[in-house]
Every structure is written in structure tokens, then in C-alpha cells.
């Protein structure tokens, strides 16, 4: 006779366990950890470059750069003077917690205020893997279309912040900030939305204020 055994175990439990350990570690060190997610080319690295330069005097910051290949982004980020470590997933579509464990082993974590994790450019898979972060931050650029929060609901549902980047291109594209915001708020009414243009450095102050508040919350 066969018997059915009830299991109910999360398929991602191994990652969840590791993420919880990382979260405890970041909490213990009072480090604000942010998981940045977007499509390829939405401006994650540009946002980091600006943020790292503009808030250099206020915070000690480090970056974990996730990419399929190359260390181009880590070099761009390191040029700002911040610590950066590259994680190449060799084709993998997302970062998982074990990769973060490896990355923090080579970073100097002492006295760090903010750790940014730049996830692999992808609107689907990264959202499923917690990395021990305090907040997920999604970046959507106006050239991608304002329906993206509707098409990729999980990522925008889980994010505390959505940055709408490249607003300097708004006159040239059919993108409605209102429509994008409304789509994101359908399943996440508390999401904070900041329109920014990293290239022209517009609109960044509200994002920086949010960072200051989030950082203060970790003390």
C-alpha cells in the first residue's frame, strides 16, 4: 500500500535560511542592505555611481555587483572610490544568498553604513531570491514602457521603492509616470516612487532622503 505523506516545504527554503542568517549578520553590524533590481540597461549602475559620489561624505558604502559576465560594472563603481566586488553568475539569471556569503567574505564590512547589491538585470527571477536585504529597490526606465509593473508584478510587489529613471527622455517616449505608478500600487500601496534622471542628476534628492531615513532606521 502506498501512503501520501504531507510535506509542505518551500522549494526555496535553503536560500531562505541563508538569507535569514545574512539578515541577522547585517542587523548585527547595523548595515543597511539594499537589493537593486531592474531590466538590463535600466540604470542600476548609473544610479549607484551617482549615489556613491553624492553621499560619499555621509556614508561608508560598498557594492556587490552581480552580472552574467565581465567586471565592467564593478570597475565603474570602484572608480567612485567605493569598495566593490564582482559576482559573475556565468549565465545564472539571479543572485542567491550563497553568492552574497562569498562576496561579503572579501569585502571589509567593518563600519559599513550601506551595502548595495546590484542584482542581475532581469525583472523575473531575482525577485524570488531573498538575499538578506532590508529592502528591495526596483528601477524602471521610461524607455521600457509604463506597463512593466503590471507585467512583472512580483518584483514591484516586493519592492519598497521604485525609481523611474531616465525622466530626461520623457519628451521622446510614450511613458506615463502616473500609469507606471498606478500599476505598481495595485499590489503594493506603500511603494515609494521617485522619478529620477541619473544622467542629468535630476530628482535624486528624494531618493537620498529615503536612504538617509532607511539608514537611520538601522541604528
Amino acid at each position: 500500500m502506498s501512503k501520501t505523506v504531507t510535506i509542505v516545504r518551500n522549494v526555496l527554503e535553503a536560500n531562505e535560511r541563508r538569507a535569514a542568517t545574512l539578515k541577522d549578520y547585517f542587523d548585527g553590524k547595523k548595515i543597511l542592505c539594499l537589493n537593486l533590481m531592474s531590466s538590463p540597461g535600466a540604470g542600476k549602475t548609473s544610479l549607484l555611481e551617482r549615489t556613491l559620489v553624492d553621499l560619499k561624505g555621509e556614508f561608508k558604502m560598498a557594492v556587490i555587483e552581480g552580472d552574467l559576465q565581465t567586471d565592467n560594472d564593478a570597475r565603474r563603481v570602484a572608480a567612485t572610490g567605493a569598495q566593490a566586488v564582482q559576482v559573475n553568475t556565468e549565465g545564472g539569471c539571479h543572485l542567491d544568498s550563497s553568492m552574497i556569503e562569498d562576496a561579503i567574505a572579501v569585502l571589509d564590512m567593518d563600519g559599513l553604513d550601506i551595502l548595495f547589491i546590484e542584482n542581475v538585470g532581469n525583472l523575473v527571477c531575482p525577485a524570488e531570491f531573498n538575499l538578506g536585504e532590508d529592502h528591495k529597490v526596483s528601477i524602471l526606465s521610461v524607455t521600457e514602457g509604463d506597463d512593466k509593473p503590471e507585467k512583472y508584478p512580483l518584483m514591484f510587489h516586493l519592492s519598497s521603492v521604485m525609481l523611474l529613471n531616465k525622466t530626461d527622455l520623457l519628451p521622446y517616449v510614450d511613458f506615463s509616470l502616473e500609469a507606471a505608478s498606478a500599476h505598481a500600487k495595485k499590489l503594493n500601496k506603500d511603494i515609494e516612487i521617485f522619478p529620477v534622471a541619473c544622467r542629468t542628476q535630476e530628482g535624486l534628492e528624494p531618493w537620498y532622503d529615503w536612504l538617509r531615513k532607511a539608514r537611520a532606521g538601522k541604528r
Binding site: 502506498s2 501512503k3 501520501t4 505523506v5 510535506i7 509542505v8 522549494v11 526555496l12 510587489h157
Partner: protein
């Protein structure tokens, strides 16, 4: 895109449960996949086929149960299943923003059907009854 690695994680869990419950032969595994989990049911089935084409789980049926998105209205709190995952007005008050997700994000192994070690002989003989139930 990463369903193969999800299947690998599942196989690890199945191995642990097999040892824990003394399962001799596994017949069927049921997985619940939420509409927003990010994993595609067909790709899970395909990944399962690839990774169990030989070895201890060869021939084991994977049953994937699709769990629809279920939300509570952000305004009046009514629980409902949206007709589509994009435009989801509350059937009672028509609110479209701020719904809370009740279910639809999950991806978990719900149950495993197997022959347990205390009654192996008889069960192994009834082998081919491993078809997934609806």
C-alpha cells in the same frame, strides 16, 4: 528561467523526506505553484523530466497544482480571485489599488506519495498506479 535549479532544490528536499519517513519507493510528488511565484509550471514539468530521466526518481510523477492569485481588496477588504493578474478591480467596491496578496506567491512541495518501508513487498507490486490524480 531557473526552473532546473528549483527542481534540484526539490530533489534535495525529497531525499531528506524520503529518509525521514522511510519511503521505499516514491510514486508521486505534488507541488503547489502560485500564479506570481515566477516559476512556470510547464518549465517545472520539463525540468523534472530532465533531472529524473534516470536514477532513484525515474518514472516518478510530478503533479503541479497551479494556485491562482487571491487578494484582499485594499479598500473594503473583500477577498477575491482577480479575473486577470493585470487589471483587478474589487467586485464589491471597484477599488483597483493597494490589494493585499493572500495567496499566489508560493512554491512548495505539498505531499509525496510513496511506499513506506513497513509494507514494502505488497506495495512494490502495485507499482503502476502512479498516475497523478486531478
Amino acid at each position: 528561467m531557473h526552473e532546473l535549479s528549483l527542481i534540484q532544490s526539490m530533489i534535495e528536499i525529497i531525499r531528506e523526506e524520503r529518509a525521514k519517513h522511510g519511503m521505499e519507493r516514491i510514486l508521486r510528488v505534488r507541488v503547489v505553484n502560485g500564479a506570481l511565484s515566477g516559476a512556470v509550471s510547464d518549465a517545472l514539468a520539463f525540468g523534472w523530466e530532465c533531472l529524473t530521466s534516470e536514477g532513484e526518481l525515474k518514472g516518478v510523477a510530478l503533479e503541479v497544482i497551479d494556485q491562482p492569485l487571491r487578494v484582499a481588496c485594499g479598500s473594503c477588504g473583500l477577498e477575491f480571485v482577480p479575473e486577470d493578474n493585470h487589471y483587478m478591480p474589487c467586485p464589491a467596491c471597484e477599488e483597483i489599488l493597494g490589494h493585499d496578496i493572500i495567496s499566489g506567491k508560493e512554491l512548495y512541495i505539498e505531499e509525496i506519495e510513496a511506499d513506506l518501508s513497513e509494507n514494502t513487498g505488497e506495495a512494490a507490486a502495485s507499482g503502476s498506479a502512479a498516475c497523478p490524480k486531478p
